[in-house]
Subunit: 314 residues, 2 copies
């Protein structure tokens, strides 16, 4: 196994609490650096201060994804946009979220008499089906329809596949002409002077594309499994422990065991839990309960970071 | 001079920053305890956490006053109301603010599918003239029309006058009948058996009613002076130092010297400065500049508290 250190895919937990704020846990927000594409997922109240505390520059963020319009997932957004304006941002900012979010933003800036220094490229999310929301040459984002009290969407963030890389020494030894390079990078064998040269003599395997799924807020919902199958890292809300299973059901939230079941069914490599109710202090119970179903699980804390390692395909 | 310790009038500075948040200063919010009447003035993002840090129970607050609809003065309100709802509040909450604030609140709770557990008694403020906003037997609040980029109102909070208190020994000595007590408390002299008994032989003076004025955000505006005349404690914004006088003018804000001039003209007893631009770290410069005009001045910090002492009238 070869590990590539140079292509970052890192998730920063800015807030892992739920609606009632505590001094330990901020409401939901996550910042992702995927090969210098900078994404913010959800933006609860206080996200700006969490960005500052974690030494993340506001100006880096080019993509914002908002899952739904409960306050603990978006009330920090207007303040962040105002700050970007005050800091003189010129770059367009892409925001993906519920239709109503756009109305809320427009009305705030109208009332406060603010003409933003930058353009917002707003993309309305259809909450009813899984759709490709964005892609470029580095990554793509797909929506995950969740099952909450109001329309709510998770996000699957996938790295794009890379081409195989050339083994320089072997290329020189076999005197491979430049025009064959693209063929080689795509994995094809070569035929030169009626001799077959196997591709893996001339190239290194491409790294396996990595993926991260963000699923908050939702009750236990198996229909998301095919969308997030084989994901490297799954964040799934776990607002409650089993002792509050009825409350979870009533409020359209999950327990740690619900999250673990989804992780197992999806064949996720690792599970992160979060969005804990303010009533819980000891997070180890969340890991303990989830562990009965799924082994590789972490109950996240504000300020935690998680890197997804790049490994080769074979 | 007699000091009364039992009737609290205390101002807690929850946030003294301006629009761009810093790790040192939160956006504007102040909490006031006036003889167990509990008021919140402005509610910038993060006010809930500041209340928690300062160990102030959310549930105590019965009155919220919002000066204007720039984000750093109200973006924490929706989250606070949501928390009060989650905490099961039943008591009505009175909110005084711009008309549009009511629309913003209603639309948020409609979109998020929340039916609050308590009633909001919303009072629309007329931003164009000074008016009595509220009074009961303890205190009254008067609006102060300010001069900012958008409609903006300050608040004058005044304690109601108390009656004089009876000197028990003197009352017994002169055998004053009960039916004369009210007359005495109001300061009248008594005529008993054709003899005049001077009121101050029989009663102690009433404490002087105390007052606090909150003026943020505004440019230098002399028309507020008659409204806040002789105030015990004046909070006046000082977003800039003199080196940014032009910027202050352009953004409809004040400098420390502007604030000091208003304090002097109003014959305020003490001046508090706040709402500093994020560009300033050293607050002592604010006091220094203001001091050239007005002596009793403090540049406040988050977490500061100020008590207004109760003293007798004579």
């Amino acid at each position: 196994m070869r590990v590539f250190f140079y292509m970052i895919f890192k998730i920063h937990i800015l807030g892992c609490g739920s609606a009632l704020p505590t001094l330990q846990r901020n409401p939901t927000a996550q910042y992702i650096n995927l090969q210098e594409r900078h994404l913010l997922i959800d933006c609860g109240e206080g996200t700006q201060l969490q960005l500052r505390l974690n030494k993340i520059k506001f100006s880096k963020i080019d993509f914002v994804f908002i899952s739904h319009l409960h306050g603990d997932h978006y009330l920090g957004l207007i303040g962040l946009l105002s700050s970007l304006h005050l800091l003189g941002r010129k770059k367009t900012l892409s925001i993906f979220g519920p239709k109503k979010l756009n109305e809320i933003l427009k009305s705030h800036f109208e009332i406060s008499g603010t003409f933003l220094s930058f353009k917002i490229d707003f993309h309305e999310i259809n909450p009813n089906k899984s759709m490709l929301l964005f892609e470029d040459n580095i990554f793509k984002v797909t929506s995950i329809p969740l099952n909450h009290r109001i329309e709510c969407t998770g996000f699957l963030i996938e790295e794009k596949g890379k081409l195989r890389s050339l083994k320089k020494d072997a290329i020189q030894k076999h005197k491979i002409p430049i025009e064959k390079f693209h063929q080689l990078k795509q994995g094809e064998d070569l035929v030169i002077n009626e001799t077959i040269i196997k591709n893996d003599l001339l190239t290194n395997p491409s790294p396996k594309p990595r993926s991260y799924a963000f699923c908050s807020d939702t009750k236990y919902e198996e229909s998301i499994v095919p969308i997030i199958e084989n994901v490297d890292l799954l964040y799934h809300e776990a607002t409650f422990l089993e002792n509050k299973r009825e409350r979870a059901k009533k409020t359209f939230h999950s327990t740690a065991i619900d999250a673990a079941k989804i992780a197992k069914l999806s064949n996720a490599k690792k599970l992160l839990l979060g969005h804990y109710s303010a009533r819980y202090n000891d997070l180890s119970e969340f890991e303990k309960e989830a562990n009965s179903i799924f082994k590789n699980v972490i109950a996240v804390k504000d300020g935690d970071t998680f890197e997804i390692e790049l490994i080769n395909e074979e």
